[in-house]
């Protein structure tokens, strides 16, 4: 039996030089302890023990998402997530979820721009079962034409349900489509149905062999377990998954700098007009991403956030207004969206949104706003690591997206060091007119007054 390489990573040094003395010290959450192992086949394993309830959460992250898709094959990563439930050598089709459910557990998966994540939470004594099943589908997925064709219909219904049928369902898709010219973040995760129709069984097999390999995967085990037991289970079931025969491709087309404001006018069958203003922002974990995050809090977190106050509360121009930042593995966008209230002017809403970004460049934010953003960050940080599922998600994000497991804790201190000058500097760097997208989406058939 192969030996595991066990690396117990030293946690971030405690003594952090705080450059900025806060008005009110944010409460420091406890550190997330973990062990990190790397198997000879490249699989990264992260363990975090929490014995408070006899349950365990197992999460497998494959570092493949919609940004890995080739033109003409959008929607593939998400479609493949569905196929992972279609049986493997020792597990019958559709049985994965029902076997987990038969012991009281829950299992599901999700796909985003950067990753595909499979998770299960179940009573702790069934840890061997879930490790065995996850390894089984990593190594021996059944891929046949019949399931492939049938599952495509389910994904089409998913798209109709989530995107096409609800009012405003297409909003995010429209924003990214116009915000990016080249980068695959342009395309929605769920993809185009024409592309899915064009996909062949060979595409499916190739995708599996390319991306569903141990060196492209990270296994998180969080909850009630003994380290010896989990180590021997990892050895028994995952160490025998063969190493990939080629490196995982990472050639993702990058977005060139934008040099001119882009204006787009569209019609959709929506009840109210929408105005979108979007800018390009740095990747998650970039030093500029922390001040950017502060600004996203100031602009759009809570009722006292600037966009809500100005457009909804003070002027009543918008039914709702919010900012949404996609801090992804590669540079994403920050978009502010407002739904124009009946009888109000979309021009005024657009001006109002842009004015809020410009104000950040000229005036920055106040000391109190900075402290509020830090307190809100601190709350989010603390309340997003209560359950074992949330803890796994934090660890997975640090390891896979930030490529530094220590950031799961260290990020807290990085964030607390953000200064007022940092905020202004980053606003001036990113909220520039040349990089801006302005979208006006009117109800089909005109605006009702």
């Amino acid at each position: 039996m192969k030996k595991l390489t066990v690396l117990l990573l030293a946690l971030m040094a405690v003594a952090v030089v705080v450059q900025y003395v806060p008005l009110q010290a944010a409460i420091r959450p406890p550190k997330l302890e973990y062990q990190r192992l790397v198997l000879p086949n490249g699989l990264v394993v992260i363990l975090h023990q929490d014995k408070s309830t006899p349950i365990v959460h197992v999460e497998l992250w494959y570092h493949v998402g919609s940004k890995n898709e080739k033109p003409g094959r959008t929607g593939f990563a998400h479609f493949f997530e569905h196929l992972m439930f279609k049986g493997s050598r020792n597990v019958e089709p559709e049985q994965h979820t029902s076997i987990i459910a038969s012991v009281g557990g829950q299992a599901n998966a999700y796909t985003n721009e950067d990753t595909t994540v499979f998770w299960q939470t179940l009573p702790a004594q069934y840890l061997p079962l879930v490790m065995w099943m996850e390894a089984d589908r990593m190594a021996s997925l059944r891929i046949d034409e019949k399931t492939f064709v049938a599952e495509r219909e389910v994904v089409k219904e998913e798209r109709r349900m989530r995107i096409e049928n609800p009012p405003f369902g297409l909003l995010n898709e429209l924003i990214t489509f116009h915000a990016f010219d080249v980068h695959p973040y342009k395309h929605p995760v769920i993809g185009s149905m024409n592309d899915l129709n064009a996909a062949t069984i060979d595409d499916v097999r190739d995708f599996y062999k390319t991306y569903y390999v141990p060196e492209n995967a990270t296994l998180m085990v969080v909850g009630d377990f003994d380290v010896d037991t989990v180590t021997s289970l990892v050895n028994q079931y995952f160490a025998r998954v063969p190493k990939a025969d080629k490196p995982v491709p990472r050639d993702i087309p990058q977005e060139p700098p934008h040099t001119k404001e882009k204006r787009v006018a569209l019609e959709q069958p929506w009840p109210l007009p929408a105005v979108v203003v979007a800018y390009h922002v740095p990747y998650n974990g970039h030093p500029d991403s922390y001040p950017m995050f502060v600004m996203s809090k100031t602009l759009s977190d809570g009722q006292t956030s600037r966009i809500y106050r100005k457009l909804v509360y003070e002027t009543g121009l918008a039914l709702t207004a919010f900012g949404s930042s996609s801090f992804l593995e590669q540079p994403g966008i920050f978009s502010a969206v407002a739904l124009v209230n009946p009888g109000k002017s979309a021009d005024d809403v657009e001006k109002g949104l842009i004015a809020e970004f410009d104000k950040l460049k000229t005036q920055g934010i106040t000391e109190r706003e900075l402290q509020r953003a830090k307190n809100q960050f601190s709350r989010d940080y603390i309340v997003s690591r209560l359950s074992i599922k949330e803890k796994a998600s934090q660890l997975g994000h640090a390891e896979v997206i930030q490529k530094d497991i220590a950031s799961a804790d260290g990020e807290f201190d990085t964030f607390l060091k953000v200064s007022l000058d940092d905020v202004k500097r980053v606003a001036q760097k990113y909220f520039v007119a040349e990089g801006r997208l302005v979208m006006r989406i009117n109800p089909r058939g005109g605006v009702e007054q």
């Binding site: 179940l122 219904e157 009012p167």
Partner: protein, 510 residues
Amino acid sequence: MTRRAVATLGIVGALTGIVAGKSLLRFDGEAMREILRAERAQNRVEWPRDNPPRPLPARPVTVPSYELRKLANGMQVVLVSQNEQPAISVRMIVRAGAAHDPKGKYGLAMMAATLLDQGAGTRTAEQIAEEIDFIGGALNTGAGTDLSYVNAVVMKDSYEIALRLMSDVVQRPTFAPEEIERQRNQALSALKVSAEAPESVADRVIDRLIYGFHPYGMPGAGTAESLAALTRADLVEYHQRYFVPNNALIAVVGDITPAEAMAGLEKYFGAWKPGEVPALNVTEPPDATRRVVVIDKKDAVQTEIRVGHIAIPRKHNDYEAVDQAVKILGGEGANRLQQVLRSQKQLTYGASADLDTFKWAGAVIAETDTQTANTAEALRVVVDEFTRLQRERVGNGELEGAQDYMVGHFPLTIEVPDQIATQVLNQLFYELPVEELPRYRERILKVTPDELQRVARWFIRPSQLSIVLVGNADRFVGDLKGVGFGSFERIPIEGIDLLAPDFVKRSGPR
């Protein structure tokens, strides 16, 4: 590669057809190595045929401890002390919700709850928001069918701030005229958006069909007319009537000792004066009657389907058995609807059935959505599953499967302190014995197939189903007759009146 892997390889290959139907057992060593090399190149050969591993020894599941208290003014208190993260959550429930809207004043409970934190005590809406946002806290208010809630989450050093704000919000809301207007406009706009959202239209119409003009059938989000007519006096009267400590429950959860938690509650809620709460006169909901309503939305690409009928309130002797019957139909750990509609027929992304049980009544409602062209077929499948559940005895294996899920799942529902508090609050709210909580295993396993059949016979009524279909009607109504639903009412989505017996909006004031 282990020896076992080689030994089982041939059988597996033959079984799965991966090695083109050839059994490796027939080959000599060299040929076998050759095939192994070829298959290794394909990256999947060495994988052994295994049986699932056995479970480890189980550790006992214990319900984390909680304490029940009561203030002298009658407010019920739940305390859960847990210090893993330095946060405290405070949850308050008042026993009044949309069901308490007086006739014609639909949306009153929702509006009152929304306005609680929009000015209270000496603070304006902005001051309250500023104070809670600044400390990195969160304060939420809202109303459900039977209850209203106020929740706060703060860091452990801000417990007093949370209580001070909550006590103002719950006891002394301002209901300032300009805030009422602001929230009224928001509610009207939100109504406009949801009136075009197929899911929410389907939900509202099925509730009206099932509960009729019982309070649970009425639109809790209001109507354009009812919202426009609400006055400040309505809000004040509703608040005075129901927001009294003897009509409220509160839970303090997280990094705080019971003594500190109680001291804060006494300080901020001890002086709150109790009051007499008038009993709500609720008529019985109507008997289940077959009725099919098609809501026409021309640009829909999918049809939202709802199928259901009246069931039981939460406090009912057969609750456990009825709940399990509905889980078999469409709940987690079982779900026949999902098996047939998604796994076998690929007609939908998701299908489920829920048992909604409220204080005075409840309903079983199945829901799914499907591509317009498949509407009739999906509807037939859903209705057939109601029939099967009523007529055929559920097999031992299927029931055991559902029960194993429920028993095994229980520890997942008491993982974080807020979940524990919510479970205790639920028991108290529905006046169920709290000491039943740890006895979940006995409660679940006592339901037998005979018991399930007994309740399914009386409570499932396949021939008296309420049915709502929201979609592009022209494209599917022609198929309805062929699946046994030739008679239906058809209403354009823009012409719905939830208060009209036939759902048809008529011009002029009502």
